[in-house]
Subunit: 251 residues, 6 copies
């Protein structure tokens, strides 16, 4: 089920048999000369919605589409939340879902830069219960789609060199498979971009003039993207299956 394409009675009915929801989460940020600004949230959304299409028994919420991308702000089109804002927004999303009885909120993440803030948000949410000596009733999970079983191995088979860490051919390939009309063509020099530390936005653009980090984005193609999507869907379904199985034991 896709939450935003469902009605409240449908969600109410689903809650009687499952207390789990998947939230795709990513970022709107530059992904080099050929990567889409939405790459990170598109990847998560593509995988989660494909699982739904393939009849997985999952509930997918709306996509959290602007994350923590301060270091990309020197590239036009990037939109970033401050970590403090993102913590509050995640708290409000979780509070809303928790009020309805959702127990496991599984964030399928597409942006490495979100990880610390999402984990800090989880602690912020749990802390309210911990100070009060009460149970939160929540299981907050963060899963980066590229860490689903087999994905890293597949990506490195597809892209043995120049996979890099930003504007990776793998993530671009995923968006190419899903949005073929938006495949972009551009030159990239050097083919494999430099790596470096992440600090503020001006520092980042000085080190990474076209936005890529360590990657050769031009290797992306939709066929590889489709392979990645299918494997990720399989991993996601396995995760959800494991969660639901555990709930049966508990409930």
């Amino acid at each position: 089920m896709i939450l935003h394409l469902s009605t409240w009675p449908e969600i109410e009915a689903r809650l009687t048999r499952s207390r789990t929801i998947v939230i795709p989460i990513g970022s709107t940020e530059q992904h080099g000369p050929t990567g889409l600004l939405g790459t990170d949230w598109l990847c998560s959304e593509i995988i989660a919605h494909r699982a739904h299409t393939e009849n997985a028994d999952i509930l997918v919420g709306p996509t959290f589409n602007v994350g923590m991308a301060q270091h990309h702000l020197a590239f036009p089109g990037t939109i970033s939340l401050r970590p403090s804002t993102m913590i509050l927004a995640l708290r409000d999303w979780v509070s809303s879902l928790s009020a309805h009885g959702f127990e496991t909120i599984y964030f399928l993440n597409g942006h490495g830069g979100n990880i610390p803030t999402i984990e800090a948000a989880f602690s912020e949410i749990y802390a309210e219960a911990s100070y009060d000596k009460r149970q939160s009733g929540l299981v907050l999970m963060l899963r980066n789609w590229w860490q689903l079983p087999g994905i890293e191995a597949l990506a490195h088979r597809q892209f043995p060199t120049g996979h890099g860490s930003h504007a990776q051919p793998s993530e671009i390939a995923v968006t190419q498979a899903a949005y073929p009309a938006s495949i972009k063509i551009a030159d990239c020099h050097p083919r494999i971009a430099a790596s470096g530390p992440i600090r503020d936005a001006i520092d980042f653009r000085a080190r990474h003039p076209d936005g890529r980090m360590g990657s050769d984005s031009l290797q992306a193609n939709p066929g590889y993207g489709e392979e990645l999507i299918l494997l990720a869907v399989k991993g996601l379904m396995a995760d959800i299956g494991a969660i639901e199985a555990r709930q049966d034991e508990i409930g």
Copy 2:
């Protein structure tokens, strides 16, 4: 252009000729027995993306898809930000866009309950400049899609009775036109729901047991939705044209 389906060099190029961006904004909240939980943000997104499809020279950013919906929290599936959180999130979106040189940020809104918080956010953003005695360089605009020229008149011709104020047949029709596979069928009693004040969520559900306010949602149909979309696109394009014309004068 759709920002999340574009690259940063494409946005950089566009900024040399236009400093305007459209942000669809809405809410994830119950819309009665037949309305989708995403109705409010879907409507804004549908209209803005259709304008793009029809070759309008506009730039559409990612959709702000969870808004202020506290009064709907007693219905499963609703996700709400606190107003204070939403103000911070809007501040971060606007700060990001302003850093790139965007001047006019036009929020195409699909949820009445967002209006006070969006307007408060605008004041919060402007205030930083006002205390410092500097110009903000920003033109923040809020446009509710149902107030685009001709929309209210059309909706009342389509739905002379039972248009109501929540889970309206007009907004449901717009989503039906765009997502025909998600048209829902359910009974609604009474056909025209009661009206009433908006307070906290429990109070709201007590007054509006199925979530509708003053509306007969069942009148919605995709044909009417398509008429509404086309007229809204026309209004949106007129708005953007007027903004750009003014920029020509200034710039």
Copy 3:
């Protein structure tokens, strides 16, 4: 009763028969060459206190005298809260009154620019209850004095042209009636000021060099002010009567 001129046992006694309180709220902001900086809160306070003087059975709290006026900050004397600050302050006022058992908190507002922030504050307050799935026990009401029954019609009879939207002759007249020693005389050119959008403070002053918006403030006179006060008192008493009547039904 005027709360700040009462003792706590007097308030305790009143609470046994009424759980309603009126809070005058406004702004300290420029009102053109002849309008007082306190116009907006003075108007609300004048009306509410006059109702008390005329033996209405109402309880009037202290006046919330600095509101959201960021756009007037380029004119000396204006004092503004940020919307985020005002939300917190209103939350604290309401939390205090709610702790004592007040149920209906009726804000009699004198400043249009406060409306979004007050409404956002109401949502912020209700949201705490909504996330927790409990009733707030609160009825938060916002009433702009110029929307009390008959006021707009009277003002437009008194000032058929040049009523405008800021530094209106009607609001200035109300303060003239109550503070005749503070009636100011100044020239205003043009007689009817220009209208325009509201953005940051420097933009505002550039558009509205003497602070007025669309108004011919010089038409104000104390006699008209007295008429407005008396009609507003009547409307306020009707509102309070309706609230109390409803409480009888519920209680």
Copy 4:
């Protein structure tokens, strides 16, 4: 001058010769069986406005009428800000006044419980400049009216026993002089209330069942109040004179 009874051109003119403003500040909180809920802000306002009436060359801003009174919340009618809220509100007031060119902002305080929060707010405001290695351009002053020269001595001559620390006969006398129609009569047992520490509101009411702390409020009378007002006005005028003299040296 009273700011809220002035126009912006009057304030603009005044700023050319003085950059000082007085802000009366207090609290809305219980003051025992006979003290008014507004006692603390009324005292500050009464003294500052009387100085104006007696032709002192001072500018008096609007009264900050709800302060930090959490410990009195178990008594009906008390309204309290959290310290964190009050810091933000004071920051916004000061930012507004500073934008106009005010340099010395002199808070004439009527509530002991406000002192830590006001001083913390001053540090919060100064800190912004200090972290940035720039001058704030501000002189923030806190003066408790009961510490103006001679006031404590006079109060102890008037009330040699039972002056106490809350619901003091001196502060009640000041309000009696200014609001003779609101003089309250009630019994108080014991005549001199107990003293004790200040913690949360329930603890406070348990220790101080009628709200007084160490005081015999019934000694208050309007004549003593008038003496206190006149002496306080003299002290306030001396303070302002000293501030302005120093500005002449600097400016």
Copy 5:
């Protein structure tokens, strides 16, 4: 006991017989040419730990070692929290300790500039209970070590002139006694530094070029420091004894 050198079962055991904890609190800020940057927190820590060493039955928590020192930020090495941050940090410390069952949290303070913020934090913490009409169950105490019985008298006997108000010989002497290897030698001109008001950091350094306020720091010596420590330990033990005695009555 020193909390950070204890295990959780040891603290759990102690809680069965005492619900009191001492938190040394101070500041990291310049203390003139010869005073250590840690002077303020070292003094509190030295005294509290010495009490432990001398077998006092006390529990000492970790030292809160960075406080409110914005006015010293123009001197290298100073680290300051904003008051608003410090309030939140103190709230979190107290919430943690309260969750374990601690009732009396006794802050042994070494920095005058912390006092308003600590007191504001206490009110912030109590306020949560007060708005909710429940008991906080907390006794929050602030004790400045220089106000322990006899300390001021001793310091003025040791340093009859030039004790001053910052970089005082007494506090420096305490650190010299405990950290003899860190005794610093420097010239100070004039021997007794000037006094003055406290505003922002640049203003402070302009008034106090070497950081001292009213003090002749060079009078400090370890012997005097040892006398002060011993007397302070005695005072601290008396305070704790009084607190525990009262608990026996209550519990």
Copy 6:
């Protein structure tokens, strides 16, 4: 140099040749039946101070001794900040140090649970510069002491089984070497504790009844601790050397 045992002129002098500072950071939280509550911050402090003792040319600031430990709050003695509070506190520390000209702020961390919040704080700090399109001038570094070169390998040689992830014998050994008087003896059953996910505090204690996670703490001994300290000091000195070398190139 130890900052808190230095004077401001000493820090001012040092800044002319190095703009780097080390901040030990950790947590005050339960570490099983034999681990000290201060283990995490003690480890960082011990290593950094030992580097100083061994004549490394480093500057060590005060220890950030209470971190993010919400999940341990069900064990007495744990003190935790909320992530949001810790972000603000770190921002204030960094702002202070940055104002003095420090460029590289190197956090030597002793607590895994701090990592997301520290990284989120770094992004929060950088973001201010990034939104403003200015360079932050900061290099914020996080180094967990157990990830200094060779430490993990050594720890696993020392403790081939039962190293675990909380209350590890390695960290306990470090504190034993530095605080031999505080070595604790207790039974632990089972010898190797269970592992599990981290959620709220009650959940954590239910899964880990004595506080350990996957560890056999009883293997700790001071000799192993000394070895770890010496190797960590070597790694820390290498890190600082590399940072300073880079500065020579840049400066």
